[in-house]
């Protein structure tokens, strides 16, 4: 059934791989070799990846394998029904074999499978930084021909395509996208006569008022997810220093020790030390999500600075207790734009350079971008974050929650103008990313000054920049 669509791109076995394989066979060590490969062998797949010839798109037929990582049972069932089965129905000439992998180990399993040559046709990664490692190792196929063939620039948000480019070539596309906003207890706000703030002064006044009336201004805690601190760092860098400054720093054109970043980090540290996040720094380190959501719904906390993934948790926590809503993070320093959304991708999808049916795999990727009503429905009905497609109000089902609908239409509209922020877990290289939240804890407890923190970040970031570890960041266009 499978048409050899990719044969025209296949290359002869590289000399090194040939020697390695024949040597192993001669020694009767194929099993050991496979194990060493699984433990991190260094053989390249080299089948038309980074340096491969220009691809032409063939007929979309054959067998495509896919791993997916949806944890929530309700979402998983919905995803299988609305995504996998719908694709099978609409593409009868393609056999889609999908299996679920634990989200915690998906990167490790994929990495091992890629090295062992047994990875699926669709390669998933936890983010562009992870995908970048695969590109460097020649494991991924260049997607530009498919992007042109399927007209992705008209379907996919431009920043999303830019984020998947390495040296100008497209290798990955985000599976979904999210942003950071401020959720608030609307019932509490109405009761106290508070209004969503539009700038730092209003936000500070609100937080002071809340604290004076024994309400924690922001629910927050990182006991269960230590990287949660980077949600705040991302917000303060982008909504304080501004996205252009962040973009320039990500390009290496502006040091992280710049006064604007210093001001932003100092502001965050001050607010934490005032007890505005989670009730205090020590409490922040032990606060867990469920009690925090309960405190938020009961009106013991007023706001929650979190990613749009909280749409999964907040409605349940508030049900029968209070009303909730959200507003965009206001500008925190002078010069930062209002109505700004920082972008985050939940993961990426690429095509395995060794895929025997890359054209069919590309058809699956295109399916994600060509069905806005389907992705809007899965967002509205079970909260699955959508792929980066332009979503109109008319794409959503009539029963969609207005607050969810408003966020994604606002986000799409704001980002399509070319102004958006950069979340640290999406656009920072791995070591700098970990530094962002781990060392920020030291700033919060007073072991490190904000200036020292940024000096350390700058040194680390520049070393990763020199080693080409920085993921591609889409430019500002406004």
């Amino acid at each position: 059934m499978s048409e050899p669509a990719s044969t025209q791109f296949s290359e002869p076995l590289p000399r090194r791989a040939f020697l390695a394989r024949t040597g192993q066979t001669a020694l009767g060590m194929t099993a050991l070799g496979a194990l060493l490969g699984a433990c991190g062998g260094s053989s390249k797949q080299g089948a038309g990846g980074k340096d491969g010839p220009q691809r032409t798109v063939g007929p979309a037929v054959g067998t495509v394998t896919l791993w997916y990582t949806i944890v929530n049972e309700e979402q998983r069932e919905y995803y299988v029904r609305s995504n996998i089965e719908e694709f099978r129905k609409s593409h009868p000439r393609i056999t889609l074999k999908a299996s679920q992998k634990p989200v915690e180990t998906a990167d490790r399993v994929t990495q091992t499978a890629l090295q062992a040559g047994s990875a699926p046709d669709i390669v998933i990664a936890s983010g562009v930084a992870q995908a970048l490692k695969y590109v460097e190792a020649d494991y991924l196929l260049e997607l530009d021909a498919y992007a042109e063939h399927y007209n992705w620039p008209d379907k996919v948000l431009r920043w999303a395509l830019d984020a998947g480019r390495v040296d100008g070539k497209l290798y990955s596309v985000p599976t979904n996208y999210e942003t950071i906003v401020v959720f608030y207890n609307r019932s509490l706000f109405e009761q106290r006569g508070w209004h969503p703030p539009n700038n730092r002064a209003e936000l500070e006044a609100l937080a002071q008022d809340a604290q004076a009336s024994k309400v924690v201004p922001f629910m927050a805690g990182n006991a269960e997810w230590r990287p949660a601190t980077e949600w705040f760092v991302s917000a303060f860098l982008n909504h304080g220093a501004g996205p252009q400054a962040v973009y320039e720093a990500l390009r290496g054109e502006r040091p992280w020790t710049d006064e604007r970043f210093l001001e932003a980090v100092t502001l965050m540290s001050d607010w934490f030390k005032r007890g505005w996040f989670g009730g205090g720094v020590k409490q922040y380190f032990t606060n867990r999500f469920a009690p925090q959501y309960a405190a938020f719904a009961e009106g013991r906390a007023a706001m929650n600075l979190e990613g749009s993934w909280a749409f999964e948790s907040i409605p349940g926590a508030f049900e029968g207790q209070a009303e909730w809503d959200w507003f965009p993070v206001p500008p925190l320093l002078d010069g930062a734009p209002s109505d700004l959304y920082s972008l985050a991708t939940g993961g990426t999808m690429s095509i395995n350079a060794r895929s025997e049916a890359p054209d069919a795999a590309a058809a699956y990727l295109d399916f994600q971008f060509s069905t806005p009503q389907r992705v809007a429905a899965q967002l509205a009905e079970v909260g699955i974050a959508p792929p980066p497609v332009v979503l109109e109000r008319s794409d959503f089902p009539t029963k969609a929650d207005e607050r969810v609908l408003r966020l994604y239409t606002s986000l799409g509209a704001a980002t399509s103008t070319g102004t958006f922020g950069y979340t640290t877990w999406t656009f920072w290289p791995p070591r700098s990313n970990a530094y962002i939240y781990e060392q920020m804890e030291k700033v919060l407890v007073g072991d490190l000054e904000p200036r020292e923190y940024l000096e350390g970040l700058d040194r680390l970031f520049r070393s990763e920049l020199r080693r080409d570890r920085v993921p591609p960041a889409p430019p500002q266009r406004s």
Binding site: L32, E136, Q283, F285, A434, V445, R469
Partner: protein
């Protein structure tokens, strides 16, 4: 017919040789069978321990992200490791952890085992009670203590509501000054019951006549413990201390479950730094060097222990 003398002598060696031949063939067959039984285990260990260890040793000398080509960089990773403040801080926490574990659970284990050895009724019940935390999953133990020591909903908060404010607002896992000792306490609680059983088994092999003699000499419980029990279980005690030291340098699970190395790096250990280096930072080559460093510490400890035994130390 006379049987020549020689035939008798000739027959003797034949008679002696045959069983020996048979015996050695039998031993060889038994040995082969033994190896055959061992083979699956050896093959498995070769595949899951020996080969990855060799691979790890190789990658310790490379710059490798975990995928793709590894670049040979000689000793660079080891030089970096020695100067890495994060790794050194982790190792220093391991030293503190080791000091804690060589005193608190060992002491508790000895006292617990000695007291248990003095009773007959309910001994089994107490042994089971002490041992239960050891067989519980670390995630369960950790969750129990996270709840118990939660500053808002734990025992401290409950006591505060009852008018006893001793632990009010104490953030055991959130205060950088308390976090390491609090996590170690949880691990201690899970571990000390194992030591009780280990020491109790050793104490039961001490000759009871020695206790009788000590009692006749007027020795009380403490002197019996000090002069009879401790020397009697010394090999077990030293072996337990070596094991505790090795495990302390590899400690990972409770730290990772409860604090993930936080707050502000206060509970970071060498193993958590290693884990993050490979899975978060994507620096598998450097992490491999850390693994080699930790293995070297273990090997030195074991060699020291073996050397002391060879020198005649009764441990």
């Amino acid at each position: 017919m006379t049987v020549p003398e020689v035939s008798g002598t000739a027959a003797r060696p034949r008679a002696q040789t045959r069983p020996r031949v048979r015996a050695s063939a039998h031993i060889r067959r038994r040995r082969r069978l033994g190896w055959l039984f061992l083979l699956p285990l050896l093959a498995t260990n070769g595949l899951v321990v020996f080969a990855p260890s060799l691979a790890n040793l190789y990658y310790a000398f490379t710059d490798w992200s975990g995928v793709g080509e590894a670049t040979w960089i000689g000793l660079e990773n080891f030089e970096r490791m020695l100067a890495d403040p994060e790794f050194r801080s982790g190792l220093w926490h391991n030293v503190q952890w080791t000091a804690l574990f060589l005193t608190v659970p060992i002491g508790l284990g000895l006292v617990g085992a000695f007291l248990l050895s003095q009773i007959r009724r309910f001994q089994l019940t107490f042994r089971i009670i002490y041992f239960i935390p050891f067989v519980m999953a670390s995630t369960v133990n950790a969750a129990i203590w996270q709840n118990l020591l939660d500053p808002d909903q734990g025992a401290g908060a409950e006591l505060d509501r009852a008018g006893i404010g001793l632990l009010a607002g104490v953030s055991f896992f959130g205060d950088p000054d308390l976090a390491l000792i609090s996590v170690a306490f949880v691990d201690n609680w899970h571990f000390w019951g194992f030591l009780v059983l280990l020491f109790l088994a050793a104490m039961q092999s001490v000759d009871p006549e020695l206790y009788d003699a000590a009692r006749v000499d007027g020795a009380g419980l403490w002197r019996q413990f000090w002069h009879v029990t401790l020397p009697g279980i010394r090999p077990t005690l030293v072996f337990a201390m070596v094991l505790v030291t090795i495990w302390s340098f590899l400690t990972f699970d409770y730290v990772y479950i409860i604090t993930q190395g936080g707050p502000a790096g206060a509970t970071e250990t060498a193993a958590t730094v290693l884990y993050k280096t490979v899975f978060e930072y994507g620096e598998a080559g450097y992490a491999a060097a850390m693994g080699v460093g930790l293995s070297a510490i273990t090997i030195v400890l074991l060699l020291g222990y073996g050397l002391l035994r060879r020198l005649g130390w009764q441990i």
